[in-house]
Structures are given as structure tokens and as C-alpha cells.
């Protein structure tokens, strides 16, 4: 029997382990609490596998260099926290329209502004989806544990490469800094997706989707393809186009590549939902609190259940809509003043009453206060 690779790791350390497992060879970023360990660990480990680390002069440069690295064919990552995510937004839009695979780790902390740098929050849910200007596709995932941080970092790389899009991992200060036992998966145990590159330079069009493909094949810079990349709307050749028809075609295609593949992208977890009459929806570290609350409620004879979206964007629309039809009351529990709750209300409409419990003062929710909130509603 082979020796199991068991470690005691922080969430941030597990993130770097996951990134390396997925094949990360390029990291660029800027130090910010509570994400800094991701940069530190990448700086230590990347040269050992022949990869590159660089500490840039600011958050904007951190993502810009990662996009540059990705264009040469390297699986690239940057990490930050709320204020840094705000600064990266313009270039997140760039990566979306230029269809550059990229993983952005956002270890959420209390905001707005400098806010509560060492305290957890889940306040960047809407920023992750709507932050950059214009309409664009985005994928965001949220882990609840150290082990899941590893797995979802791998998944984030896979989705970024498969759909040629920026993927944001929304962890938080609790998940990032807590230490848990983790068994590092053996090579081959988890799927690793490598970007699809063109096979030959015959009639290569940088933004044309070939029959049977989801996205255009992506040639690395330097491999002989000499194409153009721009943040302007462009046609399938990659060169700018002012045509409104073309802009519609390209944007529709970019939105559809995510929309049409929800089954592959949308991950979620269910706990005691089968016979549930009251549903709690929560994600990330808050969902762990809610699991304890569900157990407490069950012991009081209340048939509570937990739905945990793992993929935050695109949202688990079909699943949440279904829950809304099944129960009369849904409670959304999160460390903000009601961000994901808006999304749940949008999906559920009048099918069920959607309640909210949350705060943004740097304190985590406790099982008992969630129990109390449920009792209050009932």
C-alpha cells in the first residue's frame, strides 16, 4: 500500500498545493491580508517545479502580469483580498473579453475599504459577479474547508482553462487561516484539464470556435501564430470590430459558454434536505455553522435542511428554484448584509418566503443565533 500524503495545512497553503496539483506555473500578485500566505508559498514552491513567481508593484499589475503569463501558455494565478479585488476588476473584465484563462483567489475580509483586514467576511459575492463594467461571463467558487480549498483550486484551474475565462475562488479569512488535516490526492486522482491548443497553424483564427469545441483553441504566444489580443470587441480573427452585430455575436457566445454548461460548472452540496420543511442556504465557512444549526433544529423536532452552493456564479438556479417550490421558508445565512440573499430572492420569486441572517462586523455567525432566527420565523 502506498503511503498516504497527509498534512496539516492552512486553507491558504492548501490553495497553493491545489494550484500546483492543477499545473500552475505562473503566479503574480501583491501582498494583502489575509491572502498573503498564498503569495509566500507560491514564491517558495514555484521555482522548485520550474515555475515563475513575481511580486508586482500593485494589485492591478498583479493580475495584468498573470494575464500576460497565461498568454504564453502558463497556467496562471493571482491572489488577493477585497480591496485588491476592487483594484483588479478592470483587468478581470479584460480577461473575460479576451478569453484568457486565469485563477483569482479572493480571501474575503471585512469591508468596505480597508475595513476589517484580519476578520472574515463574505462581502465580495456581488463584486465577484458584477464588479467590472459591462456584461461578461464569470465563474466563482466558494470552499468551506481546507480540503475543499485544495479541490476547488484544482477545479478553478480546470474551469478557467476549459472555458477560457477568469475564475474567482471566494474563500474567507476563516477558511484561509484555519488548519485542518488534509490528505493530498495522489497524481491522477483528481481531473486536471489542460487548455486546448491548435494542432497546426493552418487558417488559425484566434477567436473562432471550431466544430465540437466550447471555446476557440488558444495558441501560446511565441509558437508561430502571431495573432492579436485586445480588450476591444473583436471578431473571430481577434482584430477590433465596431460592428454591433459582431459585438452581439461575440458576447452571446461568451455568455453561452457558461450558461449552456451549468451542469458541468454548478456544484452544490445538500445536508438533510430530503424531508426538509425549512431550508437554510449558506456557503463557505458560514455553511459549517449552519450544518450545526440544522442538527440542533432537528433535535428540537424541526425538519431543517441545508443547501450549500459551492459554485456561487453562475448560481445554482434550477436547484434553488426547486427548493422554493418545496418549502415555505428559506433562510439565507451569510457574512454580509444580504448579497446572496438577493440572488435567492430573484430565483425563488414568490414561491417561498426568503429570510436573511447576516452581519458584516467581522464576527462569524453562531449556530445558536441561526437556530433562534429559524424559531423566530416559524
Amino acid at each position: 500500500m502506498t503511503q498516504k500524503n497527509v498534512k496539516l495545512l492552512q486553507g491558504n497553503e492548501a490553495c497553493v498545493e491545489g494550484a500546483l496539483y492543477a499545473g500552475m506555473t505562473f503566479y503574480s500578485g501583491y501582498p494583502i491580508t489575509p491572502s498573503t500566505e498564498i503569495a509566500e508559498d507560491s514564491a517558495v514552491k514555484l521555482p522548485k517545479v520550474g515555475g515563475k513567481f513575481i511580486q508586482m508593484e500593485d494589485e492591478i499589475a498583479g493580475i495584468a502580469a498573470a494575464i500576460g503569463g497565461s498568454l504564453t501558455g502558463a497556467k496562471s494565478m493571482t491572489a488577493t483580498s477585497g480591496p485588491g479585488l476592487s483594484l483588479k476588476l478592470e483587468n478581470i473584465g479584460y480577461a473575460a473579453i479576451a478569453e484568457v484563462p486565469l485563477v483569482i483567489i479572493n480571501v474575503q475580509r471585512g469591508g468596505p475599504s480597508t475595513g476589517l483586514p484580519t476578520s472574515p467576511a463574505q462581502g465580495d459575492i456581488m463584486q465577484a459577479k458584477w464588479g467590472s463594467h459591462g456584461d461578461y461571463p464569470i465563474i466563482a467558487l466558494s470552499p468551506q474547508s481546507v480540503r475543499e480549498t485544495f479541490e476547488l483550486t484544482v477545479k478553478a484551474f480546470n474551469l478557467a482553462e476549459k472555458y477560457r475565462t477568469p475564475v474567482i475562488l471566494l474563500t474567507d479569512e476563516v477558511v484561509g487561516h484555519m488548519r485542518e488535516k488534509i490528505e493530498i490526492p495522489a497524481p491522477g486522482e483528481l481531473e486536471v484539464f489542460d487548455r486546448i491548443v491548435p494542432e497546426a497553424n493552418t487558417d488559425y483564427k484566434a477567436y473562432r470556435v471550431d466544430e465540437g469545441d466550447i471555446v476557440p483553441k488558444m495558441a501560446p504566444f511565441g509558437a508561430g501564430y502571431r495573432y492579436h489580443v485586445t480588450g476591444l470587441f473583436h471578431d473571430e480573427t481577434g482584430f477590433p470590430s465596431n460592428s454591433s452585430e459582431n459585438a452581439k455575436f461575440m458576447l452571446d457566445r461568451m455568455m453561452a459558454k457558461i450558461e449552456d454548461n451549468r451542469e458541468d460548472i454548478v456544484l452544490y452540496d445538500e445536508f438533510m434536505l430530503d424531508d426538509a420543511e425549512f431550508v437554510i442556504i449558506s456557503y463557505g465557512s458560514s455553511a459549517r455553522t449552519c450544518k450545526a444549526s440544522v442538527k440542533k433544529l432537528r433535535s428540537k423536532g424541526i425538519k431543517a435542511g441545508l443547501f450549500r452552493p459551492i459554485t456561487i456564479w453562475p448560481s445554482a438556479e434550477a436547484q434553488i428554484a426547486e427548493l422554493g417550490k418545496k418549502v415555505n421558508n428559506i433562510l439565507v445565512a451569510e457574512m454580509n448584509l444580504g448579497q446572496y440573499c438577493h440572488e435567492v430572492q430573484r430565483i425563488v420569486k414568490s414561491d417561498a418566503e426568503v429570510h436573511h441572517i447576516g452581519r458584516a462586523n467581522g464576527e462569524v455567525l453562531t449556530p445558536d443565533e441561526i437556530v433562534s432566527k429559524v424559531m423566530e420565523v416559524l
Binding site: P47, M56, L71, F221, A223, R226, P240
Partner: protein, 274 residues
Amino acid sequence: MNSQLVQDFFREDKLPHIWCPGCGHGIIMRAIAVAIDNLGLDKDKVCIVSGIGCSSRAPGYMDFNTLHTTHGRALAFATGVKHANPELEVIVITGDGDASAIGGNHLIHAARRNIGITTIVFNNNIYGMTGGQYSPTTPTGELGTTAPYGNIDPSFDIAKLAAAAGATYAARSTAYHARPLAKYIETAISHKGFSLVEAISTCPTYYGRKNKKGSAVQMLNYLKESFVDIKAAEKLPAEKLVGKHIMGEFKNVTDQEEYTDLYAKIIERMKGAK
């Protein structure tokens, strides 16, 4: 038929360019192609990166790996490209606003790192794309649409700024002095480390019209008359230098190690380590 240079290094189907009649940018873009031609570079291994603005449209016309990024960020993107694949000859095309205002931080840090990127600043002293607002290189006292009563800001000397920040090669020439310009660009590209060539351009449409500088030809003639080579200037008495600008090579240091070479040594040392 287009000249051999155009056929060899430009995307002919993307021409003509969008620049105004009389704009100096075309001369500078051509000088870059001349330098690349003289150096005999493999086009597949050249990556041209730009930001946003008039000059930043140049890469779209040039037949290389080309990357048109966000405003001010060309050097940050280029740093990622170069660091990830040091085999590539990375050239940044940027303007005075793009490089020294919104992108000023990236400029000084790319220079400080001495990363092997060549930056060509098309300096036309104005924000052209947005219609003539004053930039960090608009001379004090001159007019812009946002300096209607005269610019009260002192201006940046971009070549010296880069040199002071750590660039190991820094030079300046003008759209009039196209031959020395191409020569400096050639030296800059073959230079190991961060190099910058400031190319003074002309904007007859906005800067020229607003400041009554005359026709495009008159503006080029002004460059001819007002720029003095640094070596010639050393021999001239002070009174002959009044109102003159200095061009030439300001810095050329070859004994400082380049960033990606230094990083390659780290990889060499650490590769395979647990």
C-alpha cells in the same frame, strides 16, 4: 505596392492606420520595424504589447504576437509575458499619458527590476485619443482642453525618469530624427535589461492646433531645430542651448544582470528541491 518593410513586418490588410494626417506616430512605428529588420529577429518570437491611446493602436498593424491591453498597464502585462517566457523579445509601445500618468508606477518598477523589456514611448505631449487634454509631458504654460488657461504642471522628462528609476538603457530621439531613432531602438532591443526610448512625436490635430504650432511640416521642423544631440550639446556654450531640448543616449549600462536571468538562476538552484 507597399514597400518591402511594410510587406515583411506589417499586417497589410489592417492598413491604413487610424492616425490623423500629419501625425508623427507612423514614423516611429516604422522606425521600430526598421530596427527589428536590422536585427533580423524571428517574428514569431517578438511580442509587442501596448496600453490604450493613439500610439497603443500600433501593435494591431504589426505582424508579431500582439497584445493591446488596458490603459497604463502595458508594462505590467509585458512583465508577465517576459517572465513566463524569457525567449520572447518583448517590446512595449505606449504613449506619454499611458506610460507616465496612469502607468507611471509600472514604468518605474519595470525599470527598477531591469527586466528585459524594450519600451518605446510615443510622446506627443498630449492625450490625443480623448481630444487634447494636458498630459504629464505637456510643457508648462501650454494649452490643452483641460488646461484652458495654460498648464501649470511641471512636466516629466520620461527618458531621465526611466534612467533614474533603474532602466539600464535610456535614449531620446524624435519623429524628425528617424534614423538615429531607429538606431536607438535597435540598441534598446539588443540591450540586456530594461531599455526605454522616448520618441518625441507630433500631434498637429490637438496639441498643434490648440497651441498654434502650425502645420504638420512646421511641427516636424520645430523638432529638427529645437533638439540638440547630447554630444553636440556638451560642446555648445550655454547661450546656444536656451530653448533647446536634448536628445541622444542618456544611459547605457551593460554590467547589471537582467531580471529573468536572475530568476533562472533561482530555478537552477531550487529545481527539484523538496
